[in-house]
């Protein structure tokens, strides 16, 4: 998503997409809910992938994503139209994921046999089988570290875009990414992965 990787024509298209986003938001605020459908269609795939890697389970990702789009719709008036819509929708999705992860923690089991073990995301997505170990280690990262890895390497945002999405200084994004990659390397090496 970094502009430096785009040609002049591509850059024009990206700019045009941002304009389309703004127009859709305006239409939506005027009561045209179909306009929000256009925004969903444009962003649902990358947003779903981001949330999937954040929460680690396809069913949970579906729920969190749907909630994120609903929240985005409800709070559309608070979106600052001088900024990019995609930064805002990703921020909503990442925050929803982090809130969901926090809410999942305080569970106390009375009868351990009743609880069905959570499926590994790689089991639900055969395409991700090859990356099973990598995914397991990503899911062990703290959500704040996990988010920068996903936004940088899976959705390919630039540092300044990630900074805007997460509302962090760019240097904090870089330092979190550095630490996260270091943790991932150490974990993979401990599992016997090497060059």
């Amino acid at each position: 998503m970094s502009y430096s990787n785009f040609s002049a024509t591509d850059l024009y298209l990206v700019k045009k997409e941002e304009d389309l986003d703004r127009i859709a938001v305006e239409r939506c605020l005027e009561g045209d809910s179909d306009a929000f459908g256009e925004l969903i269609t444009r962003y649902q795939r990358p947003v779903f992938n981001t949330v999937l890697h954040m929460v680690g389970d396809a069913e949970d990702a579906r729920e969190v994503c749907q909630q994120a789009f609903m929240k985005a719709f409800e709070h559309l008036a608070s979106y600052d139209r001088d900024r990019k819509f995609f930064s805002w929708i990703y921020r909503v999705a990442v925050n929803e994921s982090i809130n969901w992860l926090k809410a999942r923690r305080p569970h106390e089991e009375l009868d351990e046999h009743i609880e069905t073990p959570r499926a590994n995301p790689a089991q639900q997505f055969e395409e991700l089988e090859v990356w099973r170990d990598l995914h397991e280690e990503i899911l062990k990262l703290e959500p704040n570290y996990r988010a920068v890895v996903i936004l940088r390497h899976f959705v390919h945002f630039s540092y300044d875009e990630i900074a805007e999405i997460l509302k962090l200084p760019e240097k904090t994004v870089k330092s979190r990414l550095f630490t996260a990659r270091q943790l991932l390397r150490e974990a993979l090496e401990a599992r016997g992965h090497g060059n």
């Binding site: 939506c28 605020l29 009561g31 809910s33 179909d34 929000f36 459908g37 969903i40 269609t41 649902q44 795939r45 990358p46 779903f48 992938n49 999937l52 990702a61 579906r62 994503c65 749907q66 789009f69 609903m70 719709f73 409800e74 709070h75 559309l76 008036a77 608070s78 305080p106 569970h107 106390e108 089991e109 009375l110 009868d111 009743i114 609880e115 997505f125 395409e127 991700l128 990356w131 990598l134 890895v149 390497h153 899976f154 390919h156 990659r181 991932l184 390397r185 993979l188 090496e189 992965h193 090497g194 060059n195």
Partner: protein, 150 residues
């Protein structure tokens, strides 16, 4: 053997995007059903909710005013098959059906389980206010209550 940063980045960036579900229908369905509106369009709904809330409060106050006080067991709550009893700093949860217990871990902590299956919770030091207790029965029923910890 060590993994270089470049190799890790290569592995991370080779993860393909999966095709996710289509949210358009589900989200727009809820939007059109009136479950949700953008903030800018909300004043009418807010006013309607406010009036409904005021009417509900008036009814509850009216019933409370005219109703005779009835005897009740202090500190105990019966949720069909789950009995929650408060004894000072301790809260006892006895379930007669299988399920999972969830509680406000910011205010309560689990002390242990008695031989009869009663779960003993204790107020955390300094915790005050209502602590939610939720029991998810295996049959899908969700039983909720709260206890005041002081």
């Amino acid at each position: 053997m060590a993994i270089s940063d470049e190799e890790l980045v290569r592995r991370l960036e080779s993860v393909p995007m999966v095709e996710g579900p289509d949210f358009r229908k589900a989200v727009l369905g809820r939007v059109r059903a009136g479950f949700s509106r953008p903030d800018r369009l909300k004043p009418v709904r807010t006013l309607a909710l406010g009036l409904a809330w005021a009417a509900a409060v008036a009814i509850v106050l009216g019933i409370a005013f005219f109703r005779q006080p009835s005897p009740q067991i202090s500190g105990a709550t019966m949720l069909s098959n789950v009995n929650v009893t408060q004894d000072g700093d301790r809260v006892l949860v006895k379930a007669n059906i299988k399920g999972t217990l969830e509680f406000d871990q910011t205010r309560l902590t689990k002390v242990g389980t008695l031989p009869d299956g009663t779960v003993v919770l204790k107020r955390k030091a300094g915790a005050t206010g209502p602590a939610a207790i939720v029991y998810h029965a295996a049959d899908g029923e969700v039983l909720k209550t709260s206890v005041a910890v002081n």
